[in-house]
Amino acid sequence: MTAPLELTLGQLGRLDELARGGTATVYLAPELRLPGLGDERFVYKKYNEATKQSAGPSLGTGLSNFVRFRERLPEEQREAWDARIIWPVSVVLDDSGAADGVIMRLIPERYFQEFTKRAGGVNRKPREVETLFGDDVTSARKGLAWVDLPARIRLIRAIAAAYGMMHKQNVVVGDISGRNIIYDPDPARPSIMVVDVDSARIKGNRAVFGMQPHTPNWQPPEALLASAALQRASRSSPSPPVEMLDRLRSRWAIQTTATDVYKFALMTVRILSNGRGGAVSRDPARARGVLKARIGDTAADLLDASFSDDAKQRPTMRDWYDALQHRKPGSRTPSPRVAADETPAAQKTSTLLANGHQVGQWVWVEGQGWVRRGSRPRP
C-alpha cells in the first residue's frame, strides 16, 4: 500500500497552522494517517495564490510527477530516500479539483532546536544547516551545541550522500542554501535531511515552479556573470534585442547538477570555516586546509575543482562522497562509527566544561561530549 496520489482538503482532518512563509503556509495535520507510511505524522504545505499563479495550470501535473517519482523508487531505495529527504507524498486538491498544495512527512523531532530568546523563553524550530555557519559565541548563547570539526565533516559527508543519491536518481537539487538542509548534531549519530525541495527538478523536466533564481550569496559564477551582463544590458542605450535579454535571463537561473556541486562546495566552506561572515563567505582557504589535513589531497583538490568557473570542470557528487569516505592515515576524521573514547566533542571543550553542564537541549557528559538531555547514556 502506498499513500494516495491525491487527497482532497476534506480528507486532511484538523489543520493547525505551523508557519507562514513567502510562498506557502504550513499546517500540521494531526489526524491524517496514510497507508504505507506507518506512524508518520504529516504537514500540509498550502501554496499561496501568488505561488500557484506563478506555477500556472501545469502545477497539478508537476506536483503529481513529483509524488509519483518517489513512489516509483524500489522499496529499499525509497527507504533510503525517505531517511534523507522530506519529499511530497500526496497532492492536495481544492474544491474545484485544482492543486492547492502537498502533504509531506513532519520533520523528525531530533531535527528541532529550542533557540534561547534574549527576553527569556525559547523559539522552537527546525535546526537549519546555516546555524553551523555562525560564530561559536552566538551559537552558545542561542543554546546550540558546539559541533567540532570531525562532526562537521561527518555532516558534510551526510549531505554529499543525500545529494549524491538525488543526482543518481536524476534529480537536480536546485535552490541550495543554508535553509534547506536540517541537521542533528548528536555526536553518536550526526545526520541531516534535505527539506524544501520545491525547486528540485527531475532531469529532462522543468521545475514545478518554473525558473527559480539562485538564493543571494549562493549564486554560482555562471549565474553571477549572466546577472552582471543582464544588468549592464538593461542600462545600455539603445536597449539590446529582446532575444539577447531573454537568453541572459534564462542563463542566470539555470540549475544543474554542476550548480548543485558548486553550492555543495560553498556549503562545505561555510560549515568548515564558521564565524562572523561565515554564512556569506566564498573563501575556500580554511576549509581547503581542513580537508587536506583530515581527509587528504583528493578532497582539497575536489574543493578547488568545485569552484571552477567552467561548470564542466566541476566534479560529481559521487566523487565527493567517495573522497569523504576516506580519511588520512593518522587522522581521527571521519570514522564511520565513533567509539566512546574518541567522541568528537570530547576534544576542544573538555577542559572548559564541567560534567553535567547544560546548553539548551544538550548536556555535557565527560568522555562522551554533548548528549541530548533525557537520552540514555551510551555505554
Binding site: R118, T131, K142, P213, L225, S234, R249, A279, V280
Partner: protein, 239 residues
C-alpha cells in the same frame, strides 16, 4: 568582455534597516512598552540565522523635541545590553529626519569602506501623532533626507499606531512616492480593534518578515534584490 571583477561581482549586499520611534509623552506607558519588545524580537531573529546576522545591519533612533541615536547601525549580535525607549517632550519630525540623514550618511560610508555593497536603507517610522514643529522646517528636513542627489536616501514607511491619526498626516513622509518610483512605499494607519500596543506588536511582525524576505530577494537580473516592503496581506487591520 568586462574585467572579471565587474562581470562577476559577488560582494555581499548589506541590508540596512532603521527603526525610528516617536517617544513623545503620548507614547508613554503601553505603547512604549510594546516598542521596547521590538528590538529583542529582531535580535532573536538575527541571532537564530547567521545569514541574517552577516547581511542585516540594524539601527534605532527616537525623537521627541530632539532626536537621538538609540542604537547605532550595526550587527545586532554585538548588542549586549538592549537599549530602551523612554518618553520625553513633543513630536519634532524635523529633528527625526535631520538625525536620520546624518546617521545614514555616516553608516553607509562605513559599510562601503568595509567592502559591502549597499542599497538604500529602509526606515520603519512609528508615530502616534502629527508633528508639533513648524511644517516648513519638517518639509525642509524631509527634502534633505530624500534628496535625489543623496545616494542613501531611504525607503520610509510611516506607521500611525492610533486610528485618530489621519493618513493625510503621514502620507507626505512616505518615500519614495508612487510618482517617483516603480518601487513606491506607502503609509499605514492602524484601524483594528486593539490599542496602540497591539498595533506596535503587528509592526514588529511585519518588520521581521520584511527583514527575512529582503535577505532572499532577487531582482530582475537575478542578483540580490535588497529591501522587500511589508506585505499588505499581513496588515489587514491597517489602512
Amino acid at each position: 568582455m568586462a574585467d572579471s571583477r565587474q562581470a562577476n561581482d559577488d560582494r555581499v549586499l548589506a541590508l540596512a534597516f532603521y527603526l525610528l520611534v516617536d517617544v513623545s509623552y503620548s507614547m508613554d506607558g503601553a505603547p512604549l512598552n510594546a516598542v521596547n519588545k521590538i528590538l529583542p524580537e529582531v535580535i532573536d531573529t538575527i541571532e537564530e540565522s547567521p545569514t541574517l546576522g552577516d547581511i542585516v545591519r540594524f539601527g534605532a533612533l527616537d525623537f521627541a523635541d530632539d532626536a537621538r541615536t538609540v542604537l547605532p547601525l550595526g550587527d545586532l549580535r554585538d548588542v549586549e545590553s538592549i537599549p530602551n525607549f523612554t518618553a520625553r517632550g513633543g513630536t519634532s519630525y524635523a529633528a527625526a529626519f535631520r538625525q536620520l540623514r546624518k546617521d545614514i550618511e555616516h553608516d553607509l560610508a562605513q559599510l562601503k569602506s568595509d567592502g559591502y555593497k549597499v542599497y538604500r536603507p529602509a526606515v520603519f517610522f512609528i508615530t502616534d501623532g502629527a508633528p508639533t514643529d513648524n511644517m516648513s522646517d519638517v518639509q525642509a528636513a524631509f527634502n534633505d533626507l530624500t534628496d535625489p542627489g543623496f545616494r542613501g536616501r531611504p525607503n520610509i514607511i510611516p506607521f500611525g499606531v492610533t486610528a485618530s491619526l489621519s493618513k493625510a498626516v503621514l502620507d507626505p513622509w512616505v518615500s519614495p512616492k508612487p510618482a517617483e518610483s516603480n518601487k513606491a512605499m506607502r503609509s499605514y494607519v492602524y484601524n483594528g480593534d486593539g490599542d496602540a500596543a497591539t498595533a506596535i506588536k503587528q509592526i514588529a511582525e511585519v518588520l521581521i518578515s520584511s527583514i527575512v524576505a529582503s535577505a532572499t530577494s532577487v531582482n530582475d537580473a537575478g542578483a540580490a534584490g535588497g529591501f522587500v516592503p511589508p506585505d499588505d496581506d499581513d496588515l489587514d487591520d491597517w489602512i
